[in-house]
């Protein structure tokens, strides 16, 4: 299910003294079944974009197309529920949105809202709780008794449980310790490989380089660039101009190039190690 934005503008509190322009003339296509990273400085419009994808916000002008759905400023809230089932959003610090008496009931909330029967909702919830690494003895505990990391997983299961075709993630790994972060990102990787689209908002360029296929760079409410991961990170001076750092392996490969080594910019450590070995082999021959 691709997402297409055509001439989209978005202004918060439009027609009031507090009006604030968040997006200007955004044209964008997000491809199907890929991991697309949305990156950009704080306040560049990433979070606004996510909320346009499932109709939580409607464009002030222009249109958003998600599959057969067309969202414009005139779109009514009524028919949006079925869209929201297709486009799931895990917001920042999703553990702050848990509310039900038990872990299981909280995860069932989404599926039940989207028309699953109680049994279906329960089996979906159980399935996804296990996938995110929550053990069965916690299912009937209050979500508020869990550790912060476990609460995060429960909240994520709460979105995965209705298996949205497109999964949007806003800084899903922020504040987790390194091992917890890796586990969570690998869950999303699996989900994408099962044939879903994943959209990731992140500040961590190493995560983006390791995880994403496509990158959309936002700057001051505009799309500054959209390209595949290799091309995006091949121009560090451009990234710096847009307040973004490059992944460490890129900056390291550039340092080697400055010193005369013939190495192409590598987007992660493994690629970099391969490049270095290749280069040494070439010299030795």
């Amino acid at each position: 299910m691709p997402i297409t934005l055509k001439n989209v503008n978005y202004t918060y509190n439009s027609n009031t003294p507090l009006a604030h322009i968040a997006l200007t003339d955004v044209n964008l296509t997000i491809k199907d079944n890929k991991v697309t990273a949305l990156i950009g400085h704080t306040g560049s419009g990433k979070s606004t974009l996510l909320q346009l994808f499932d109709g939580l916000l409607k464009p002030t002008t222009g249109e958003v197309r998600v599959n057969n759905y067309v969202l414009t400023s005139q779109t009514k809230n009524k028919g949006l529920k079925s869209l929201r089932k297709e486009v799931g959003i895990v917001f920042q610090s999703p553990e702050n949105q848990l509310f039900a008496e038990t872990v299981l009931k909280d995860v069932m909330f989404g599926p039940q809202n989207f028309g699953y029967s109680d049994e279906e909702a329960e089996s979906a919830a159980k399935k996804w709780l296990k996938k995110v690494g929550i053990s069965e003895e916690l299912f009937n505990r209050s979500p508020f008794d869990l550790s912060g990391g476990q609460m995060r997983r429960v909240a994520i299961a709460g979105v995965l449980a209705y298996e949205p075709k497109i999964l949007c993630l806003d800084e899903p790994a922020a504040g987790l310790d390194p091992s917890g972060k890796e586990e969570i990102l690998s869950i999303f990787r699996d989900y994408q490989q099962q044939g879903h689209g994943v959209i990731l908002v992140s500040h961590d360029m190493n995560d983006v380089a390791n995880f994403a296929d496509e990158v959309v760079v936002m700057d001051k409410g505009k799309v500054a660039k959209q390209d595949n991961i290799h091309n995006i990170f091949s121009d560090p001076s451009w990234l710096q101009k847009h307040h973004l750092n490059e992944p460490e392996s890129i900056s390291f490969s550039l340092k080697l190039r400055q010193r005369g080594l013939n190495i192409s910019p590598a987007i992660n450590v493994k690629n970099l190690a391969d490049e270095i070995i290749k280069n040494r082999g070439a010299i030795n021959e």
Binding site: A174, D177, F252
Partner: protein, 277 residues
């Protein structure tokens, strides 16, 4: 020999409604002017440790344990004196902003110590300048970014001239730019005022730049040592749930591909030099 500013001896801690020890017989010392990173899984007892250091929590078994801050023994009599020596910047920028505006928030610590208004009018702009927030004096918290709020939090603890600054995951909710700003401000303070820094953090580059690293796991102190010493121990790294700094990761990957890099090479620059020989 530099002066010992923190000394923790045989400290354990158990929360009242649980039986499990959050901290188990911890001992270590920190010298004045050091930057010590405290690392470990979420829930390994790191935040409990900071609360013990400024007397927000009291250690189990006070007879056989002791915490000294700048030669003062933690006790009911000394706790307020000790709090004058320690400033803590907490994780959530919003949940520590007490004042209605930036200047009000900075003055909070002074008001608590009954400092005269004329003195406050002198000190508040001074510390705001140090964190580069003077132009935002009258701004309300909802109009500040997370990084700006944390800078105000730093100013708020600078008003009482602390000897020790504790960063309790103070940069974990910030974007990279905000994080770098905060860290460079703290580094400057450490240098100029010889402030001791304890930083609870997951940020690997920050850990790598600190003088020493204290590794906690399930309430036990696994090791305290320089970053090199810590990163050389693979099992320790895994137990503590840490990742390796980039240079160590790359060395590891190169080794896997048959290229052994000498242990003496620890920084990016050294590795670049080595590879370009």
């Amino acid at each position: 020999m530099s002066k010992e500013i923190i000394s923790v001896k045989n400290v354990s801690f158990t929360y009242r409604d649980s039986k499990k020890k959050v901290l188990n017989n911890i001992s270590f010392t920190v010298n004045k002017g050091e930057w010590v990173s405290i690392v470990g899984h979420n829930g390994s007892g790191k935040s409990t440790l900071t609360k013990l250091l400024n007397g927000l929590l009291i250690a189990d078994d006070p007879k056989n344990s002791a915490i000294y801050i700048d030669q003062l023994l933690m006790s009911e009599n000394n706790v307020w004196k000790i709090r004058d020596k320690i400033g803590i910047v907490f994780q959530n920028p919003d949940n520590q902003f007490v004042g209605a505006t930036v200047e009000d928030d900075v003055a909070f610590g002074l008001e608590n110590r009954n400092v005269t208004r004329s003195q406050m009018l002198k000190i508040v702009p001074e510390v705001l300048k140090e964190v580069d927030m003077l132009p935002y004096k009258k701004t309300e918290p909802q109009n500040l970014s997370g990084g700006q709020k944390q800078r105000v939090a730093i100013a708020g603890i600078l008003v009482v001239n602390p000897e020790i600054i504790i960063l309790d995951e103070a940069t974990s909710m910030l974007d990279p730019e905000g994080r770098n700003e905060i860290l460079s401000i703290i580094r400057q303070l450490q240098k100029e005022k010889d402030i001791t820094v304890l930083s609870i953090t997951h940020n690997i580059e920050e850990i790598n730049k600190s003088d020493r690293v204290l590794v906690l796991n399930r309430g036990n102190l696994l090791k305290i040592g320089t970053p090199d010493e810590i990163f050389a121990e693979k099992t320790l790294i895994e137990e503590a749930g840490l990742e390796l700094p980039f240079v160590y990761q790359l060395k590891e990957e190169l080794k896997r591909r048959g290229l052994q890099i000498p242990g003496s090479i620890k920084t990016e620059e050294e590795l670049v030099d080595y590879l370009c020989q």
